[in-house]
């Protein structure tokens, strides 16, 4: 289990605790917590990274009838390139990221139990990339890694189906882009992911 994934799990626990505390302190049912499990396709520059399972957990505060603020944690979990060979050696890259999302959600009611929503906002990331390189058994192999923090944005659309007054099912498409990863390097990268996820939303 990598360090970023451990951080992610810790963040979920913190959010759960915060949600419960906020619910206790709030006057009405204005705070919701959600959790989702999905699959992200990761796109970095010209490289072909494989997709990865991704978790997302967050809180929403209802500002008006259809508008909420949200904060959530999500990330990239061990997304890898294929092993690529060239004159110098063979190499494989792995990306992990922890993302903090902060934005808004606008909901459109379709039927009493069914609604659609748009969400979007900014994100802050803490990302690590690792390279594992071999030299055709002619020289010793090794690994190296680099990490960086930065910002980006996200946008998504989804549907919410209310199972009961305090519990809903969610299904969602989410786009996230993390700008200028390794910004001090010779070749900064934008790391983009497209995800499909399903989950539950609980109104505290």
């Amino acid at each position: 289990m990598n360090q970023i994934f451990r951080l992610f799990c810790a963040a979920i626990l913190v959010l759960s605790g915060s949600g419960a505390a906020l619910a206790e302190s709030s006057a009405g049912n204005t705070v919701s917590g959600f959790g989702k499990l999905g699959f992200d396709w990761v796109d970095v520059s010209a490289a072909d990274f494989d997709g990865s399972l991704v978790l997302e957990a967050g809180l929403r505060w209802k500002l008006e009838n259809n508008l909420s603020l949200e904060v959530a944690f999500t990330g990239i979990n061990d997304s890898q390139t294929d092993v690529v060979e060239d004159n110098t050696g063979s190499y494989q890259l792995t990306i992990n990221s922890l993302d903090l999302l902060f934005g808004g959600v606008y909901q459109f009611n379709i039927q009493p139990d069914l609604s659609a929503y748009l969400r979007g906002g900014g994100l802050a990331y803490s990302m690590e990339i690792e390279i594992e390189e071999e030299f055709y058994n002619l020289k010793p192999s090794g690994t190296d890694s680099a990490d960086d923090r930065g910002f980006g944005f996200y946008a998504g659309l989804g549907g919410e189906f209310r199972l009961r007054s305090d519990l809903s099912l969610l299904a969602e498409l989410l786009y996230k882009t993390r700008k200028d990863f390794l910004s001090s390097s010779s070749r900064p990268l934008d790391v983009t992911s497209y995800g499909l996820s399903v989950g539950v939303l609980h109104q505290f």
Binding site: D86, T88, I131, F135, Y136, K139, P140, T143, D144
Partner: protein, 305 residues
């Protein structure tokens, strides 16, 4: 598609194709110690030289990995080019490099530059780098000078031959006796929608006499086609004349067999390249091999039976 029809036949038949003399410039690779096979070629009228190199240790070709590279420099290091191998671990390195002043020749250097070796990669190699350190070939340097230009005065590019018994008369400017002249040809024949391609390379003049004639039928046999490109000495010249990628892609330097007699030929193009070659000193540290500087000129004629 084209590759399926590349013709490369056993060298036995080829013996009748040419009566070339032995290569007097190329020392064999030594079975002990370090050897190098290097060539720099400057085509007539071009401002860019083609450079190729291979390195051996105890007779075995060495692949440069982990940040070791061969770099060619021209015009007193005004220009530099990293030689690349199309086939990973192939050990045959080749590149093109601008040459403004051919008098200054080309310098080859084996260096350890882990960032430059990875400059084609998409990610920031200055941040992500596994450096296993230099290999034992790093530090060798070789200078290669070019001979005087070679200019073909015949045949003319427009010439068409209709009979295999006709002879192609090659004429060029003769220079010093110590020059060695190599003829490398790439034949491409068309039959309906199909095409076939193969190459030959041999020494034709040593010393340089300024002329040579060759029977069309020896380049394009009626029943079988021969690829005489059996060793890297000849492969380098074929890669140079046909461009590196094409030579590999079309199998010009490989060894597949195809029966030319099965094809009803519409026409063929014969690309004839004449090289003027001189030998350069590799230095006392080298156990074997050669460093050839060459100039070349190319003409393409047509055979239409």
């Amino acid at each position: 598609m084209l590759r399926r029809f590349v013709l490369v036949i056993a060298s036995l038949v080829c013996a009748s194709c040419y009566t070339g003399s032995n290569d007097s410039l190329r020392e064999p690779v030594s079975q002990q110690g370090v050897s190098a096979t290097i060539q720099a070629n400057l085509p007539y009228g071009a401002m860019e030289a083609q450079v190729a190199a291979s390195f051996y240790k105890d007779g075995r070709k060495q692949a440069l990995v982990g940040g070791d590279i061969v770099v060619a420099y021209s015009d007193t290091e005004l220009h530099a080019a990293i030689l690349r191998s199309i086939e990973n671990l192939g050990g045959d390195y080749i590149a093109n490099i601008p040459v403004d002043d051919s008098e200054q020749g080309v310098e080859f250097s084996i260096e350890h530059d882990p960032v430059a070796a990875r400059e084609d990669r998409w990610y920031p190699v200055d941040e992500l780098l596994v450096d296993p350190g230099p290999g034992e070939l790093v530090g060798y340097r070789f200078d290669v000078n070019f001979p005087s230009d070679i200019v073909l005065t015949s045949p003319l590019p427009s010439e068409t031959y209709t009979d295999r018994e006709q002879r192609i008369l090659l004429n060029w400017n003769a220079e010093t006796d110590s020059d060695q002249i190599r003829l490398t040809s790439v034949q491409t024949c068309f039959s309906g929608e199909h095409s076939v391609q193969w190459a030959t390379s041999t020494i034709i003049n040593s010393p340089d006499t300024g002329s040579h004639d060759i029977r069309v039928g020896s380049l394009i046999p009626s029943t079988t086609v021969v690829n005489a490109i059996s060793d890297f000495f000849q492969q380098i010249s074929v890669m140079i004349v046909s461009s590196v990628l094409e030579a590999y892609t079309f199998g010009l330097v490989s060894a597949d067999d195809i029966d030319l007699g099965a094809y009803n030929l519409d026409y063929c193009t014969i690309s004839l390249t004449v090289f003027r070659e001189i030998s350069n000193d590799l230095g006392a540290e080298m156990s074997g091999g050669y460093a050839i500087g060459s100039s070349s000129d190319t003409v393409t004629v047509r055979y239409e039976p």
